[in-house]
Amino acid sequence: MAVKSKTPATEPKIVSNGNGSAKATEPRIAVWKTYKIYIGGAFPRTESGRYYPITLSNGNVVNVCLSSRKDFRNAMTVAREAAHKWASKSALIRGQILYRMAEMLETRGAQFREELQWMGMTEAQARTEVEQAVDRLIYYAGWADKYQQVFSSVNPVASSHFNFSALEPTGVVAVVAPEESPLLGLVSVIAPVLAGGNSCVVLASESRALSAVTLAEVLSTSDLPGGVVNMLTGNLKELLPHIGGHMDLNAFYLHTSDAAHIKTAGELAALNVKRLITESQTNWSSPDAQSPYRILDFCETKTTWHPIGI
């Protein structure tokens, strides 16, 4: 039983899923969706069997997976395997897959708008959230084969060598997504990670988790290899020590305004010299919310030397 209703199940209360708002001319029992997590391209429930309820504006209650440390570690394992696969795709293909994600999101817009309204947005807010999320994916789809040229260099060394610096993905990134903006905020923080060729394990907005799970369904039909994005729902305070302390994690994006969380994450990052990026701003419509410098945050500069001669 995934969605509990306060009203008797036989009442003709229509909850549409997926195809916009259906109109009931006759009583029909709606089919509800179980909101699962997304690991390695599959949609399992949390291994822990735990859940937490989210009460929707229509009165329904959704039981969302309360992901465990083990779920995170499982996701890390598949993210590490997927990192190389994703990084070795051409920049062109990465851009096209990001664009495909935008297409999938656009065509499922009605479903996202409805879910966003269930989670408290007005219709206008939900519309803007979805439209800007689509546009944001397209923005980064375009960057996928361009940021390298903007941020790379040929370096005129004094000795007889050819020397150049280019960007490579940092590797596996953990993303703690913004709490308030469950779709646009989420897309805004994972798109630059993906454009840069990294794989990621995402902890979705805890209180507004539905959009993240549905976005995972978009990702799974966008030719994105399984494991490149792994989507967990759960509690930040519980998972923070396990994310921050994971020794195979290369970078950690943490969206929070909680000073204690930032300090804890920073201290844990030092265990294996993780790159930690924290952010607290919540205006995902601002011009600063998209930038190639956000891709740069998840890249490493590699400098290569070779002698020039015969």
Binding site: N155, A269, N272, V273, T304
Partner: protein, 496 residues
């Protein structure tokens, strides 16, 4: 390769470098060094005595003789230096037109060039590195680094498209003992060019060239407080890192200390760059130009006595050429001149300190105890001072500590491999990721290797090359941020 190899080698007259080829001593004169008996702290444009009146000695590692006494900065002194830097930042340096700021930095570059020989001699006296290296590499690169970044000062908006770059404020910088003046240049030059002011702490065993640099900065007429040099040990560095009015910390040193600093800065909002340890793989394929590769391996691990974070301390040789490479490597090692750092013939100078020598010797024991076969050339080493023969270990495996841990000495661990996939896997199987080397004649294989190495600097058919325009820095536990080149500006800027 039998264990008797070195004895067989002595039987071959062509390989007996020591008795047939005697180099006459060719020492550089130390008289140019002009080292004062005592150095105070350089704070706010003046030489000031440390608040607690403590001084520590700095010795020549080549003969253990006292060179000078240097002020030990305490927390009060660090605070004074940070305050001076803050005032200079707010009142002078951040307000000065960038093109004028540039001219001060150009002046520093020029005065380093003018005093280059003096600086080279002092570097070799205080740190033990061969004069050939301090004269031809450390000092010219330091001057060039200032020259390069000086030119950036009024061009920063071209470096970061779509952004307005702004300085951070006061930078606290901590540098190691392996390239004392060069590391000071790597830290100070980009910080000044981007409009920040600086408090720099040199390493305890090698403070002298940084103090000479303070003289140079003074002579260049920089406004008081723009650069402050506070000498001391770990406690001085901790006081600097933890000072609440620092905006930026830049650290070069061990991964162990780097992690302590990263942890200490958690939640403070201070910007951080770390340039930490390494355990680089140097990979030789069967089609490589073997003699060049052997020369590159020697340069990779014995340059600066192996006191190099990016030293090629793990050698991977393709099995089919392993015997040939190892024989040539041993022969080449027989010809290395180990001894007086001031002698222009010297290839391998003194180990930087008694403490470091002890650490290296412990690793030699560990290597032998783990079952690896040790080889050292038959050369003699001076009876006084801290010296270690160039050393290689055969029959090592991935699990050996001498393969996993950074030794920071002239010690090479050799493994063999068969396939490209195997060597990529082995080379990357380390928490470090600073540098790597690959030797092959095949272009496509070079690019496979250079793109697959998880390392910030990759040398193909060369090794241990450095240049001010070339970004340097690591992946993974070798740190983050880059020094050198356009990329080296970013750690000292916020992009508005």
């Amino acid at each position: 390769m039998s264990k008797k190899h070195s004895k067989e080698q002595k039987a071959e007259p062509t390989l007996d470098f020591n008795s047939k080829l005697k180099y006459a001593a060719a020492p550089e004169s130390a008289s140019i060094a002009n080292i004062k008996k005592q150095y105070d702290l350089y704070i706010n444009g003046a030489w000031v005595k440390p608040a607690k009146g403590q001084y520590f000695e700095t010795h020549s590692p080549a003969n253990e003789q006292l060179l000078s006494k240097v002020a030990m900065a305490g927390a009060e002194d660090v605070d004074k230096a940070v305050k001076a830097a803050r005032t200079a930042y707010e009142k002078v340096w951040s307000k000065m037109p960038a093109k004028e700021r540039a001219k001060y930095i150009f002046r520093i570059a020029r005065i380093i060039q003018e005093r280059a020989r003096e600086l080279a001699v002092v570097e070799s006296l205080d740190g033990g590195k061969p004069i050939r290296e301090s004269r031809d590499i450390d000092i010219p690169l330091a001057a060039n680094h200032f020259f390069y970044y000086a030119g950036w000062a009024d061009k920063l908006e071209y470096a970061f498209p779509g952004r307005k770059p702004e300085p951070l404020g006061v930078a606290g910088q901590i540098i190691p003992w392996n390239f004392p003046l060069l590391m000071a240049a790597w830290k100070i030059a980009p910080a000044l060019a981007t409009g920040n002011t600086v408090v720099l702490k040199p390493a305890e065993t090698t403070p002298l060239t940084a103090l000479k640099l303070a003289e140079i900065i003074h002579d260049a007429g920089l406004p008081p407080g723009v650069v402050n040099i506070v000498t001391g040990a770990g406690a001085t560095g901790a006081a600097l890192v933890n000072h609440p009015d620092i905006d930026k910390v830049a650290f070069t040193g061990s991964t162990e200390v780097g992690k302590i600093i990263q942890k200490a800065l958690a939640g403070t909002g201070k910007k951080l760059t770390l340039e930490l340890g390494g355990k680089a793989a140097n990979i030789i394929f069967e089609d490589a130009a073997i003699d060049q590769a052997v020369e590159g391996v020697v340069n990779g691990i014995f340059f600066n006595q192996g006191h190099v974070c990016c030293a090629g301390s793990r050698l991977f040789v393709q099995e089919s050429v392993a015997n040939k490479v190892i024989r040539k490597l041993k022969d080449r090692m027989e010809s290395l001149v180990v001894g007086d750092p001031l002698d222009k013939n010297t290839d391998v100078g003194a180990i930087n300190s008694a403490e470091q020598l002890k650490k290296i010797q412990e690793y030699l024991k560990i290597g032998v105890n783990e079952g690896a076969e040790m080889f050292q050339p038959s050369c003699s080493i001076p009876s006084k001072g801290y010296f270690c023969k160039p050393t290689l270990f055969l029959h090592t495996s991935q699990s050996h500590r001498i393969v996993q841990e950074e030794i920071f000495g002239p010690v090479l661990a050799i493994q063999t491999f068969r396939t490209v996939e195997e060597v990529i896997e082995k080379a990357n199987n380390t928490p470090f990721g600073l540098s790597a080397g690959v030797w092959t004649d095949k272009g496509s294989r070079i690019f496979t290797l250079t793109t697959q190495m998880k390392a910030g600097v990759v040398w193909a058919n060369t090794y241990n090359k450095f240049d001010p325009v070339s970004p340097f820095g690591g992946y993974k536990e070798s740190g983050f941020g880059r020094e050198g080149g356009l990329h080296g500006l970013l750690p000292y800027l916020k992009l508005a």
